[in-house]
């Protein structure tokens, strides 16, 4: 398969625009419960810190700081766009869908209705070495979300 299926234009664009980056420079919204998670990929040294804030049963803000390849940076950017404002249960469902797609070795077709721009990562599932790159920010978000939810007492 060609490089274009891996590096879809939406991935290349997000890898540069990096929506949601700037954790250190942005405070969590007042009154929201937040959690923060740092993840490291020891294979390549990529790392990311994601902070998730929740209020009224919704993800009220996602911010992240990280360094890594275009796949990992684009994935964090897409995640931020997708998750903000989403109901918590729906977000955990989307994380599970994204993970299933990435682990499917190309067998699961992405549904843009559910995954939005994250559907562009479908091609990554055929590159076993790159699955972690796409997944790292989502793993951090999942962990941070869990912390935020338990702090919010839900």
């Amino acid at each position: 398969m060609g490089l274009e299926q891996l590096y879809q234009q939406v991935i290349l664009d997000h890898s540069k625009s990096r929506h949601g980056s700037g954790l250190a420079s942005t405070a969590a919204p007042e009154g929201a419960a937040s959690g923060q998670s740092h993840q490291l990929n020891p294979v390549c040294g990529d790392e990311i810190t994601v902070r998730v804030a929740v209020s009224d049963g919704h993800v009220s803000q996602i911010r992240w700081d990280g360094a890594g390849c275009s796949i990992s940076m684009a994935s964090a950017s897409v995640l931020s766009d997708l998750a903000e404002g989403m109901e918590i249960g729906e977000f955990t469902g989307v994380i599970a869908t994204f993970r299933d797609m990435l682990r499917s070795r190309g067998k699961v077709t992405a549904d843009p209705e559910v995954l939005g721009d994250a559907a562009a990562f479908e091609g990554v599932s055929r590159y076993a070495a790159r699955v972690k790159c796409a997944m790292i920010s989502w793993v951090a978000a999942e962990d941070a979300l869990g912390q935020a939810v338990s702090k919010s007492g839900k």
Partner: protein, 440 residues
């Protein structure tokens, strides 16, 4: 009686006196089945031998021949196959010993170089414990002792020493590298001192390509009574290696980096040292007398070879050593220097590319690690793969070294005797196109 196969005989053909060139390299490449295949529709350009080299057919056949004709346990059994297997195994040891100019009983088979370094570290730890034999006292470490390594070490030649230090109260000190990937020898002279018990360093850097001044470091260490451990993983496959001439106390190397299969490596040690060291792994094959209470151990090398050994891999490693000797280690080294220079000069002239290690024109191994501004190493590697070019990306098991240069990951192209200047040029052409593709 099955005759010893020609590839195991110690007398191998003399290498040609002429320098290696593209024409002969293309003939050499024909010996390597894996290099004949296309990758992503392109001819494979394999530039990842620093991680794992490929096997010539003669090496693959030597392993197959063992299983077809001689497979048996070694050093036990009185039957025909047991004798055949033992002879093959010990002939292989003699061949590999002669490849590094050691005596046969100074070559201990290990699974890889990492295991060789852990063997040393754990043996020295055993020597440091209460109840160790008196002859092991020379290896005992304690509070106030220092283990010196360099900033350019592979994790395999770093973490075993960190662990040994943590367990014995010793400390680890580092000889720094300068901006051009060269060891700071002035600093080394102030760091290596009366407290130094072990100086462990790489002969040649897997990241920088730097070839270290072994003789000078050995003199420094021996001057203060310290033991010298040489990581020869990147030198043994690529240049003539004479452990006796270098006068190192220990050296490790890895089979799969020198045309042999994975799962086999070598620990070299001076015979008198090996025989005074406490064993690391214990069990069958390494003992003389065993009672319900205790055991006595065989001398080296069996002392360190508990359990059933990697017999076919050892035989294949000897076959690889013969292939290299016949080609000529000096010629291989010269050719790879040519490729290394071409790599560095070419990469350095591409805008936005920063090459680590010695500058263009300075001697280095036939490898180069580099950073492409604005493009992560993983993306560089993926882009090159789409052109059939295999390189390594990441920190190459040298995180402290990458940190030293303010990087987390680089791309590394590493050559071997089967690479032509066309391979280097294909890489350079690919790297030149990377930033455009990713819009960097």
């Amino acid at each position: 009686m099955v005759a010893t196969p020609a590839h195991l005989l110690p007398s191998v053909g003399l290498p040609s006196a002429a320098q290696l060139g593209n024409e002969e390299v293309l003939r050499i490449r024909n010996d390597f089945p894996i290099l004949q295949q296309p990758v992503n529709g392109m001819p494979l350009v394999y530039l990842d031998s620093g991680a794992t080299s490929q096997n010539p057919l003669s090496v693959i056949e030597s392993e197959q021949e063992f299983y077809e004709q001689r497979n048996s346990a070694v050093h036990r059994g009185a039957h025909f196959l047991a004798v055949e297997a033992t002879e093959g195994f010990e002939d292989a040891r003699a061949t590999v010993a002669s490849f590094i100019v050691a005596d046969w009983d100074e070559v201990v088979w290990t699974s890889n170089a990492t295991e060789g370094l852990n063997l040393l570290s754990y043996s020295f730890l055993n020597a440091s414990l209460p109840g160790a034999a008196p002859e092991a006292a020379q290896f005992a470490l304690g509070s106030g002792d220092e283990i010196v390594v360099t900033e350019m070490e592979h994790h395999a030649n770093l973490i075993p020493w960190q662990q040994l230090a943590q367990r014995t109260g010793a400390i680890v000190r580092y000889i720094p590298v300068d901006d051009h990937g060269v060891l700071d020898l002035e600093a080394a002279e102030s760091i290596v001192g009366p407290r130094t018990r072990i100086l462990a360093f790489t002969h040649a850097s897997n990241v920088l390509g730097t070839i270290n001044p072994v003789e000078r470091l050995v003199r420094l260490a021996h001057g203060v009574g310290a033991l010298v451990v040489l990581d020869a993983c990147q030198s043994a496959p690529h240049m003539p290696l004479d452990v006796k001439d270098l006068d190192v106390d220990f050296a490790v190397l890895s089979g799969h980096k020198m045309l042999a299969p994975t799962g086999v490596g070598v620990l070299y040690g001076k015979s008198e040292l090996l025989n005074a060291m406490p064993p690391f792994l214990t069990g069958g094959s390494m003992i003389t007398t065993v009672t319900m209470e205790k055991a006595e151990f065989l001398p080296s090398p069996q002392r360190f070879e508990a359990g059933t050994q990697k017999i076919s891999q050892a035989i294949a490693l000897a076959s690889a050593a013969n292939y290299l000797t016949e080609t000529g280690m000096g010629r291989i080294h010269e050719w790879e220097s040519v490729l290394g220079m071409r790599l560095v000069e070419g990469l350095a002239s591409i805008p936005g590319v920063r090459v680590l290690g010695p500058e263009a024109g300075v001697e280095r191994l036939g490898l180069a690690s580099f950073d492409v501004e604005g493009v992560h190493a993983h993306d560089v590697g993926q882009f090159l793969d789409s052109r059939g070019i295999a390189v390594r990306v990441g920190h190459h098991c040298a995180q402290p070294l990458h940190r030293r240069y303010g990087l987390t990951a680089t791309t590394r192209a590493s050559t071997y005797l089967y690479n032509t200047t066309d391979d280097v040029d294909a890489l350079l052409e690919g790297v030149a196109a990377v930033r455009g593709y990713f819009g960097a």
